[in-house]
Symmetry: C2
Subunit: 721 residues, 2 copies
């Protein structure tokens, strides 16, 4: 699928509507940006009051241009836009960048004008960037509509909901000296073109190696997920999502008016589809640079090669905290290292050369070669003074360091594993480090940043291998009886009863303990016959009673017909007090669940991201610690597995405190079945299995609740579009 | 107390033992460092084979020097050291720096030699730095024994267990251009002078404004705590402690042979005594710089002033994540801001000027003035483009920015609150930012780092105000009966029985539920008379049975004499099976504890830090989540309070999930009493109250265990030395 954005984000001709010779105007800045950067296409200044602008022939209107332009940059105020878009359409312009603000981000009148703008654009068949955009550049076409100075063309594409954020990254790149950009767009109000469209474009753009996003709020998060899932197979997608806290969400909302959504959920969903999520703003550029230049890692096992114990220790701490591992080196590797290093060198990972390289820095690339050849090693991390031996020890070492840098570059191209370099001398940029950088090996001046890059390379490698494991998508055939059950509940204006929710689960192969629905008091002997002497639980069934325990609608540990009958009377009495008009269908009787680990599985339809599955342990884990995992539905088996592995409470599932581990395979199967059911039944608005009790050999769904979508028309709109 | 280290770390004369004209020798590097930096004191090269070294008259031995030197730098091998120290003593030298390695860090023979070195030093009355030190500098005395180039004198003192770490910080400072150092010492094996001695010295050193430590392992952690508690009242103490993970601890131990200890505990104890703990290596220098230059903060409330929404959002996220707060601005403040900013400016914190300053950057210092005057504001954080208005908007703005920088500097000196500046242009160092830096206002290029600095300023302010609240130290008078009880248990070769442990607690005013010790089966009617119809618990009392439940030694929910008698027989039977030779003292009978929140309080004597108190919630909080707080004993009320506030599970104590909050004051009182008891009774080796049940109006100590120190001689060594 070729993005229509290519037609105007790499334009051969540009109409600058509102072009100006007044340096305080945006229409001046755009003109000078194009002229100074040597734009090779045709510039059409449009200004009814001028014959020429900055030496370029001007036109009175878009309709009077001698030919169709690819792109219009519209610098005029908000109210002029609908009319101008119609003119752009007449001219055959494919896309317009609208700088003006004063739309939906301001007030209701602005929102109405914004709707008018969108309608005009659709009618004119003109795609629009913005309105309220900070601007656009495409440095490989010399299209620098922001007139930013000192910005290098390169391969990082950026879409940023903050113009200042772009500026910050541009200044950071300028100081780094090796990082350049391809295309930038400020998406503004995303009235037409949105984040997912930009991602598709950057994904296809040959000049972009990494698609990088600063996001305050998605408009259509589900579309972004769907696009990212595809693009991330081919190139890295980096997202910094602001609003990790309530305070940040409030600030973002006053900035762009965007709804932030749940941060933890957003991060989980983005990672699910292969996006590298960066959590600190000062790591955006280093991580994007690293992902663009370095090979992804096949796993998480890092070999650390250090010429000083302090940095080796710090690196080990950060690696472990980041969820990476110190590789366990093979005996062969250690023997080879032993041959070339001093006897006092430490050959357990982290490797400390202990002075071996002081007079002989060339040994560093030899060691890296040995480490990269070890099958237990996914990444090699060089930590220490490399690049500064000539400064620190003896000037004549610089030539050897330079040759060593060549050897590292060659190894990096050959070995198929990322080599990550941290140097104390990164700030000073001595020649050997300059050589590494010029040859596409980044050099980091912070161990912390370098480890974040390795984490990102590992996550990217994991996604790529996940995306290659082709899996028969588990799609259910919708059962007509179930569709009827939803329709019937809907016609009665109610959600599914617990007994119906469980019927739904059973119907699609989820293992729900046997229950009997007792409608009158005479049936208890049948119940006793069915369940024998197992202790039983009794719960009220009523569409009017949502919180059964609060209503006194639950009795536990019952045995024998007499106790059951007495319990039923008590429940009826309590419920009548709780809600005098409650309509009671009957009582659900089931054996008491054995003790096990309480699990919660929930599904909701997020306004931005569509159906989302949540998984966590019950009680304090969900309520106090918010230790839960989210995934967009539908779900692959790998993704379901990663949910279980992600939560901190996994230690409990794995059998901490001397207990047997729970049956993880059964839980994963349950998650997949829930995903399939929600995917097959758009009638479901929310679904909660709370609790599910997990055992070492099975699970039991103790309670199930399904809230249905009361609007039948919505049923056609499934989550996966 | 004046540190004896002044006598030789700021020396007026230096003997360089093993001085050399051979550039590959350490004795050459030290000579050139002193000569190149223009050391003004007297240099005595000592080398029996030379008449002069690098133009300086040499001497055959230390004993042949014409006068006493203050300091000896010993560059000769390990085995020569004891003899040389004796000679140093004869000469009257006060301190020696020993570079040689090959001591305790290597093997047992090395350890023996190290003991010999220490004995020789004591006999000669010479203090020693090292051995195995990376060296020393004192830049204010032009004593640069490491011969580091491009290193500025300044006010950051550094003690680093890694020479490369010092080098990394020096290079970072070189690139920053504004950070300088006072004294550096590599403590090496700390055979004589240790971390606490260096801290005392840096605390007293007039040239040092911040005492900074890179620590892999403390030798005498308790001494460091005691010194830090005093020094941190006067100047900031910054510690980066490596070994935050098992992997890092292993690496550190292979590097310096140091025992890392529990990282979480070490961090808690350091913070208790006012140390600013830095958790990322790339934050050491920025935090030290900020603490040295900026006023500490009286609280945690930050006003954010931004000229762009993106950075305002990021700042809000980081501030909230760091445990700081966005200040709630007063109405007066908002009105004043409203008067000078555009109507579209956002006046809720974070303040977004929304273009007001684009043509008028001087408004930024006006806004800061208004914010700093608000009593609800503890710190002002400027976020955005300041310093770059002249570059971004119009060159003529640079003069106004420069005047604005002057205004900020003046405000900073006047207002008594820290002003923290993050600028997109920090990397470029334009003139207005250069001016801020030159006037002692640091400028950060990372929001993340800037927020870490604010967090540190808040923690430092908190410590200073804590340390000013003078508190009558709750010291117990030791009860002779209790001392006898310990002596008696010790004479029987056992720990305290549960009943004795509880007696100890009761004796010092801890509220322990009434219990009866029943030695034979006839007493149950007395028990029933005592407790009435409350359900009772029975536990076996035996020095031989540590894990009572495992032995079948606990029965719950008993009522009536008959049930009690039956339970006793069952317990006796089970315990006899569990341990046929177990000596049973009797049964402890007590009413069942009401349901409440399970707390664990534990005390142990850490080999590095002495007696340490641990506090946490029972069950998964301690076992799975390791959500506990540590403090060194003895403890102030503020410190006890901060333990309860620190743990993540505090939400449960505060009454999450609809339950009543527990009686926090009672818990704090309990922590203080436990601290006092352990302080008064050096016989206690470990003490565990597990569980304590916390209620909304009280607590109940359900089980208590005291392990005693079997060695009576240790009793005199209390924790607080």
């Amino acid at each position: 699928m070729r993005s229509s954005l290519h037609d105007f984000l790499a334009p051969d001709s540009i109409a600058v509507i509102g072009a100006s010779a007044d340096p305080t105007k945006r229409g001046y800045k755009a003109m000078t940006g194009l002229l100074n950067d040597g734009y090779e296409g045709i510039i059409y200044p449009v200004n009814p009051k001028a014959d020429e602008i900055l030496g370029v022939k001007a036109f009175a209107s878009v309709t009077s241009l001698p030919a169709a332009a690819d792109l219009a940059l519209i610098c005029t105020p908000a109210k002029t836009i609908p009319g101008l878009l119609a003119q752009c359409g007449e001219n055959g312009i494919k896309g317009a960048i609208i700088l003006a603000s004063g739309f939906g981000e301001v007030d209701a009148a602005g929102a109405a004008l914004e709707a008018e703008v969108l309608a005009a654009a659709k009618a004119a068949k003109v795609r629009i960037v913005g309105p309220n955009t900070s601007g656009v550049f495409n440095l490989h076409k010399q299209v620098n509509l922001l007139a930013l100075d000192n910005i290098r063309p390169g391969d990082i594409g950026i879409i940023s909901q903050s113009g200042n954020m772009l500026l910050a990254l541009a200044l950071e790149a300028e100081s780094n000296g090796h990082i350049g950009f391809s295309t930038y767009v400020g998406p503004g109000n995303q009235t037409d073109v949105d984040f997912s469209d930009y991602l598709q474009y950057l994904g296809e753009d040959v000049n972009t190696r990494v698609a990088t996003f600063y996001v305050e709020g998605f408009k259509d998060g589900r579309a972004f997920l769907n696009t990212a899932r595809e693009i991330a197979r081919e190139k890295p997608v980096v997202v910094y999502k602001s609003g990790s806290t309530i305070e940040g969400q409030k600030a973002a909302s006053s900035h762009t008016g965007a709804l932030a959504g749940s941060y933890a959920m957003t991060v989980d969903l983005l990672k699910q589809v292969g996006v590298n999520v960066v959590e600190k703003s000062d790591e955006i550029l280093p991580v994007a640079e690293g992902l663009g230049l370095l090979q992804q890692a096949a796993g998480k096992r890092v070999a650390v090669l250090a010429d000083g114990g302090g940095q080796a220790t710090i690196a080990s701490d950060r690696i472990s905290e980041a969820g990476l591992q110190l590789a366990e080196l093979s005996e062969v590797t250690r023997n080879k290292l032993r041959e070339i290093l001093f006897p006092q060198a430490s050959l357990l990972n982290p490797i400390d050369v202990a002075g071996s390289t002081d007079a002989n820095p060339g040994l560093l690339s030899d060691c890296m070669e040995i480490l990269a050849a070890d099958d237990n090693v996914d990444m090699v991390f060089l930590v220490g003074m490399f690049g500064g031996y000539g400064i620190r020890f003896a000037e004549e070492l610089q030539a050897e360091e330079s040759a060593t840098a060549d050897a590292m570059v060659a190894l990096s191209k050959r070995c198929g594993k990322p080599l990550v370099v941290y140097s104390l001398y990164a700030y000073i940029q001595p020649e050997p480090l300059e050589k590494l950088r010029n040859s596409g090996l980044p050099v980091y001046g912070s161990i912390e940043h370098a480890v974040e890059i390795m984490k990102a390379l590992g996550e990217r490698g994991d996604y790529i291998s996940r995306s290659q494991r082709i899996e028969a998508q588990q799609r259910l055939t919708t059962d007509a009886a179930m569709t009827d059950m939803f329709a019937s509940a809907r016609s009665k204006g109610r959600d599914l009863l617990e007994v119906e929710a469980k019927q739904l689960l059973r119907n699609y192969g989820i293992d729900v303990p046997k229950e009997l629905l007792i409608r009158n008091s005479e049936n208890f002997s049948a119940v006793v016959a069915e369940f024998g002497d197992m202790p039983l639980a009794m719960k009220v069934v009523s569409k009017d009673i949502l919180h059964k325990s609060d209503a006194g609608g639950v009795k536990l540990n019952l045995s024998g017909a007499e106790e059951l009958g007495y319990a039923r009377e008590q429940i009826l009495k309590s419920c009548a007090t709780y809600d005098t008009s409650a309509d009671i269908e009957g009582m659900l009787v089931t054996p008491m669940a054995r003790k096990g680990t309480e699990i919660i599985i929930g599904v909701s339809r997020d306004p931005m991201f569509g159906p989302v599955l949540m998984f966590g342990l019950g009680g304090i884990f969900v309520e106090i610690l918010e230790d839960v995992a989210f995934r967009a539905i539908p779900l692959s088996r790998d993704e379901a597995t990663s949910m279980v592995d992600q939560i901190k409470a996994r230690k409990i599932l794995e059998g901490a405190r001397g207990e047997a581990p729970v049956d993880k395979a059964a839980l994963i199967d349950l998650l997949l079945k829930v995903s399939s059911i929600v995917d097959a039944h758009p009638e479901i608005d929310e679904l909660d299995l709370n609790p599910v009790i997990a055992y070492d050999d099975d699970y039991a769904v103790v309670d199930a609740r399904v809230i249905i979508n009361r609007n039948a028309a919505a049923d056609s709109a499934s989550g996966e579009t």
